[in-house]
Amino acid sequence: MNIDEYAATKEQVQVAGVDAPLRVMIISTVYQLKERIRNYVRDLLEKEGIRVDLVFLGAKSWEEVDPEGWEQVRNHPLLTLYTLDGAEHRHPLRRVERVIVLRAPEAVLSRATRLTERVGPLRPLQRPAKALENGHRRVAGAFHSRIYNKAYKLARPSVLAKLFGRRLADVDFRTVDRIVATDVYAVTLGWRLARKHPHLVATTALDRDLVALHEQLRAREDS
């Protein structure tokens, strides 16, 4: 990725107005939102009255672990949701692996097995064909979890940054004050947004009392 692509323009440097309500973008890339993140979002919305943009994989990542909490928070007027809704699963890096390692060999082998069931002279090969099919499933599974997933994890921050970047294309970042990357895979996106919008506070800390904190930061900038 070319760094210059994310260099800020003069207009983007414009800091959000002092009177504008505080707006925080929280990025989480985990499949199940941890309690501390859920509590953080709720505290900002309910206790501190701050606008929150939650950038996450999808509603399931909250709903599955905390259905009640999700029901209470999902329609909160200060909350905006940005989700991938399976876009990561459909990314070429994942799709190609699935086709090459799993689907294509699986299709060939299952067709071969069916042939050995239907064609008389091939019946003696039925057992070896099934064994081959099962063997492929095991090897493909092992490859996926032990090799591919480990390698993919290394590239995942960049993949997610690109996918989420498209989802966030319409966001007016001049009205956003803070970006919070809540896990290691969210770092790349947070860092890129910080480079593109220099007025943003970009952090991994789940700080509270943000209104007072940002007032202090503004006062420090003014002085």
Binding site: M1, I3, K153, L154, R156, P157, S158, I179, A181, V184, Y185, V187, T188, G190, W191, R192, A194, R195, A202, T203, T204, A205, R208, D209, A212, L213
Partner: protein, 469 residues
């Protein structure tokens, strides 16, 4: 090196003390006192301490007044530290870490596993490099390393391996023993054990803050037991005038009593028990309208202040100021904020009874107890029974110990201490503070200084089979 020339110049020591003024970490006072003591006795002292960026950006506070109490003859070096583990600002991430965060994290963890298992390892490496540079200009005679962090021990070991300069390790804190559970702090296969064995095997001495800690280590490392010694923490006579000089407050009979805790409040302390016992004690007429003043920092780091305040029943805003909510009942608990070490004497004088709040078990002494005793005021214990601090307090005439964390029992000792505080005489204070006279830092550091001098002079250390005391 020519031995006669060596004898004429001041012995030179490299002191590896990560927490050193203006840090206000609880362990800093021992390091300050040790460096000052050595400088006053003619040593040429060079301290390797934490970089200022760590104190400002990570810990978030410094005590500049304390820095002014460091002997000007002491040279302070501040080797670099990698902030990887503490950095929260994404803008300060390197391009590599920002683009490949998982790879960067795994590399960092690999370093921790294979090189040294501590976030401060990079500081240890920088300290060795800095030490070598200084050593080539003028030779060090001995290295003293204080932990935590224990990267200083590893640095002393590495410096010794590279230069042959002997080293002494000062266990200001415990490394492999969890003081709060009295259990080993790491699983058996953790690299910390290998490092501790390695460090102790070649150390010319190992210093502990109390006898139970020395014994625990001597049992695990019997080959090194004859090089182990105890140097308790003590109190700083240069920062605190002895009790008795101020006499007693004549107005104490006419006003509500003031109880005080001074020190950093941490999550390991029985804070809830203190608050509950206090509320109970306040129902007694002797403690009607009494106040409990909390002086010091809430936690060591910027985060977690509010949690600690909440455990005490207090609400703090983001500036650490008390939120005055008229709808909540007045518990008489007041958070008074941080106190510079140079102002502690006035805090002790202001309060009528001192609350000794300590976490952990039988290996815990707590440096604060020596100051408490020097104040000559009644002391109420709020800690688990049997902690090492009791050995120090034993014999102090104004000590009120419930020997339990039972709320009713602690409340009763608070009431008893309050009664005694009301009728306290100047003579009683003077008698009480005499108990503390044997625990001034300078008195306690004499043995360590002698040991270091013997090591630096290459004198033969008498090995009696008994620990030096």
């Amino acid at each position: 090196m020519n031995s006669s020339r060596r004898d004429t110049r001041a012995p030179r020591i490299l002191y590896l003390a990560f927490y050193f003024p203006p840090s206000r970490a609880s362990g800093v006072y021992r390091a300050r006192a040790t460096a000052n003591h050595l400088a006053a006795r003619g040593w040429d002292v060079t301290v390797c301490a934490a970089p200022m960026s760590f104190l400002h950006d990570v810990i978030g506070s410094v005590d500049e007044e304390l820095a002014s109490t460091v002997d000007p003859r002491i040279t302070v070096e501040r080797p670099k530290l990698n902030h990887f583990a503490w950095e929260r600002d994404l803008r300060k991430y390197s391009a590599f870490r920002a683009r490949m965060p998982l790879v960067a994290q795994k590399l960092y963890q690999f370093n921790q596993r294979t090189l040294f298992p501590e976030n401060y390892a990079s500081w240890g490496r920088s300290a060795v490099a800095r030490g070598l540079r200084l050593h080539t200009k003028r030779r060090f005679d001995v290295v003293l390393a204080t932990g935590n962090p224990f990267a200083s021990f590893a640095a002393a070991w590495a410096f010794h391996r590279l230069t042959g300069v002997p080293y002494v390790v000062d266990y200001r804190d415990s490394w492999t023993l969890d003081l709060f559970n009295d259990q080993p702090a790491f699983p058996d296969d953790h690299p910390a054990w290998k490092w501790e064995r390695r460090v102790l095997r070649r150390a010319a001495g190992a210093v502990f803050v109390n006898e139970p800690l020395r014994r625990w280590h001597a049992e695990r490392y019997p080959d090194v037991a004859d090089r182990m010694m105890v140097v308790p923490n003590g109190w700083d006579a240069d920062l605190m005038s002895p009790a008795g000089e101020a006499g007693v407050d004549p107005g104490i009979t006419a006003r509500p009593l003031r109880f005080g805790y001074l020190g950093t409040l941490t999550n390991s302390q029985p804070v809830e028990e203190l608050a509950a016992a206090w509320i109970r004690a306040r129902t007694y007429p002797e403690l009607a309208d009494a106040e409990l003043n909390i002086h010091g920092h809430l936690g060591f780091f910027k985060g977690g202040r509010r949690d600690l305040a909440n455990r005490l029943g207090l609400d703090l805003d983001s500036d650490g100021q008390l939120i005055d909510d008229p709808t909540t009942p007045d518990l008489g608990i007041h958070y008074r904020g941080p106190v510079s070490k140079t102002e502690v004497a006035s805090v002790y004088e202001h309060n009528d009874v001192l609350v000794f709040l300590a976490g952990g078990g039988r290996y815990v002494t707590s440096g604060k107890i020596f100051e408490y005793m020097a104040s000559g005021k009644p002391i109420v214990s709020v800690h688990a029974p049997g902690i090492a601090a009791q050995d120090v307090l034993d014999g102090y005439p104004l000590w009120f110990n419930a020997d339990s964390l039972d709320v009713e029992a602690v409340a009763n000792s608070m009431v008893e201490a309050g009664k005694v505080a009301r009728g306290l005489t100047a003579e009683q204070r003077a008698v009480a503070s005499r108990h503390a006279q044997g625990y001034t830092r300078d008195t306690l550091l004499v043995a360590l200084e002698e040991r270091l001098r013997a090591i630096a002079g290459r004198e033969r250390i008498t090995v009696s089979g008994q620990p030096a005391r």
